[in-house]
């Protein structure tokens, strides 16, 4: 009822509301960046550049879903890749063997990820703090081994006549669209929607309860809140968006194999969210941007013959460089890159406007 009323008020005042928001510094910056990103494929149609941007947007969704769970609800998962993987496998299977359109498969993948999140969340959320991290980590490793098992592959093939388990995974998935520009724009819209929903959830009444659970779980139950229920809801929301990321991921890379369950992908989410700044959610976008582009630059640098054959050549591994980079960020910018970057930009903005 009340939400309805609130929405109505917001809707009525929508132009004014938007107008006010755009005139704030954050609003203006967001709009400018979104317009630039929207215009990018009209200026540059190289599949390579668009591909990097698509990867960056997929990682943004994935990391934002992790940041929502860890930063807002305080439940640190080290096995977030399992949602990426479950949804990825479902999407790939539906597209390849059921010939469903991509958007139905994506929705199904995300919904199955939510159900999976519920099944995993109920036992996992009895664990607290480091034990939850360990529990989720081992669950993702179980999924990795399960999907790698040869006997599972034979069993599944005997039962359904299709290939799902096993080291090869499912390959040969078509992309969202053969045109990279269309793929870019669709991914862009999905990313904007995901970030919008997640940031607004964090600001809503539900978000207030989530933050209370993060700050003091005992105190929250003393305030009459069923913390278990809300933690499971949070787990499901997070796994939905991780699932959306997983579906896009599989479609973009045109296949999926058990490697998707590796802890590496879970750690990518953590690195990206930490780079952007925990609890910011939209910081994941900046984190993913930095992450993906440094990754690309490192690939490029590594291939320069002079460096490749020099003693520092083997040190140019992206993960190695990233670990150092992350340590520096944690040491010198403990709240991530987003807040300091925004502050610097705001100074410039104020100077330009003569404030």
């Amino acid at each position: 009822m009340r939400l309805n009323l609130k929405l109505k008020v917001k809707f009525k005042e929508f132009p004014g509301y938007l107008n006010d928001w755009v005139h704030t510094f954050r609003g203006a910056l967001t709009v400018v960046l979104l317009i630039l990103m929207f215009l990018l494929p009209f200026g540059n149609q190289s599949p390579y550049v668009l591909g990097i941007f698509i990867t960056f947007m997929i990682y943004t969704i994935f990391a934002a879903s992790w940041d929502f769970l860890a930063g807002i609800v305080g439940q640190v998962s080290f096995g977030h890749a399992m949602f990426l993987g479950v949804s990825g496998y479902v999407t790939a299977y539906l597209i390849k063997y059921m010939s469903l359109p991509w958007w139905i498969s994506l929705l199904f993948g995300a919904i199955i990820a939510v159900i999976f999140g519920l099944i995993v969340g109920v036992p996992a959320l009895r664990l607290k703090g480091p034990y939850l991290a360990l529990g989720t980590l081992s669950m993702s490793l179980i999924m990795y081994q399960l999907f790698l098992m040869g006997s599972m592959a034979i069993w599944w093939e005997g039962l359904f006549g299709t290939q799902l388990f096993g080291a090869e995974g499912v390959s040969g998935i078509p992309r969202l669209s053969p045109d990279p520009m269309v793929e870019y724009l669709i991914t862009f819209i999905i990313m904007c929607l995901s970030l919008f929903v997640l940031t607004h959830l964090a600001k809503s009444n539900l978000g207030t309860i989530f933050k209370a659970i993060r700050d003091d779980e005992t105190g929250t139950s003393a305030s009459g809140i069923n913390t278990t229920k809300y933690k499971i809801i949070a787990f499901m929301i997070s796994s939905f968006f991780a699932g959306v990321g997983g579906a896009l991921f599989v479609m973009h890379f045109r296949g999926v194999n058990p490697g998707i369950y590796q802890p590496l992908y879970s750690f990518y989410a953590i690195i990206i969210a930490a780079l952007g700044g925990l609890t910011t959610i939209s910081g994941s976008a900046l984190g993913a941007f930095v992450f993906i582009f440094i990754n690309e630059i490192l690939k490029f640098v590594k291939d320069i013959p002079l460096i490749e054959h020099s003693p520092i050549g083997p040190l140019m591994e992206p993960l190695f460089i990233f670990s150092i980079f992350l340590i520096l960020v944690i040491r010198f910018a403990e709240h991530g890159l987003l807040q300091p970057a925004l502050e610097r930009f705001k100074e410039v903005y104020d100077i330009i406007l003569g404030r």
Partner: protein, 247 residues
């Protein structure tokens, strides 16, 4: 009137230690009762048992005619028992308004705040505890006295019938104590049943009409605080054996 809270033969054992030993008492609707006892008497354990944070080994707790023994804390809160903690708890990184809003968002709190909305109810509670001018700041920078007030505000957000206050005065200056006392008296006048602990007798003496004494987990006596303070075992517990002459 009528009995609101009825505790019968409640026992809680930790390995080798009986923190609450066969404890029975009643609190009537609208009453203002104190629970006194020296440090380590088992007052906080008793509160934890009533509010569901710990489960008793034996005995029953009835609230408003309903058996609540062993229920989950959030269920008990939604039946109408709210508590504060001896060591202050707050949601450190949220504004005071949001701190109170969490209680207003509980099923019981929602019923109360349905009419005016969560924010409005939360700020009216902040007003009632005297923190309305600090609504937009987080509790990490508040002085201790204000944190105690915030605790009471958080409890009020759930619209309690019975308010359990665990050492609401501990660590406060006289000035701050007076503020909290006024607040508690006002709440009681508004019809909330108050049950509070304290280990310093003087604080409770002037406040409550009836006190229950507890020592080493056992029920000692109850009555007007002056009478309780003259009880032999209570004196012994506070001052040591042979101290009746001193008092």
């Amino acid at each position: 009137m009528g009995v609101l809270l009825e505790v019968k033969n409640l026992t809680k054992k930790y390995s080798g230690l009986t923190a609450v030993n066969d404890f029975s008492f009643e609190v009537n609707r609208g009453e203002f009762t104190g629970l006194i006892g020296p440090n380590g008497a088992g007052k906080t354990t008793l509160f934890n048992l009533i509010s569901g944070f710990e489960k008793p080994n034996s005995g029953t707790i009835r609230f408003d005619g309903r058996d609540i023994t062993g229920m989950k804390p959030h269920k008990i809160v939604n039946l109408g028992i709210a508590r504060t903690f001896q060591l202050v708890r707050s949601f450190r990184f949220m504004t005071l308004l949001d701190n109170i809003s969490v209680s207003c968002l509980s099923p019981r709190g929602k019923k109360l705040s349905k009419e005016y909305g969560i924010d409005e109810s939360a700020s009216s509670i902040l007003g009632a505890v005297g923190l309305v001018d600090k609504a937009r700041i987080p509790p990490i920078i508040l002085p201790h006295g204000d944190l105690r007030k915030l605790q009471i505000g958080k409890a009020l957000g759930t619209n309690p019938q019975l308010l359990l206050l665990d050492e609401p005065f501990s660590g406060l200056s006289h000035e701050e104590q007076r503020g909290i006392t006024d607040l508690i008296v006002k709440l009681h006048d508004d019809g909330v049943t108050v049950f509070m602990t304290g280990h310093v007798l003087r604080e409770l003496m002037n406040l409550v009409p009836r006190a229950i004494a507890m020592h080493q987990g056992k029920y000692i006596t109850e009555g007007p605080p002056e009478e309780v303070a003259r009880n032999k075992i209570v004196l012994e517990a506070y001052l040591g054996k042979g101290s009746e002459d001193l008092a």
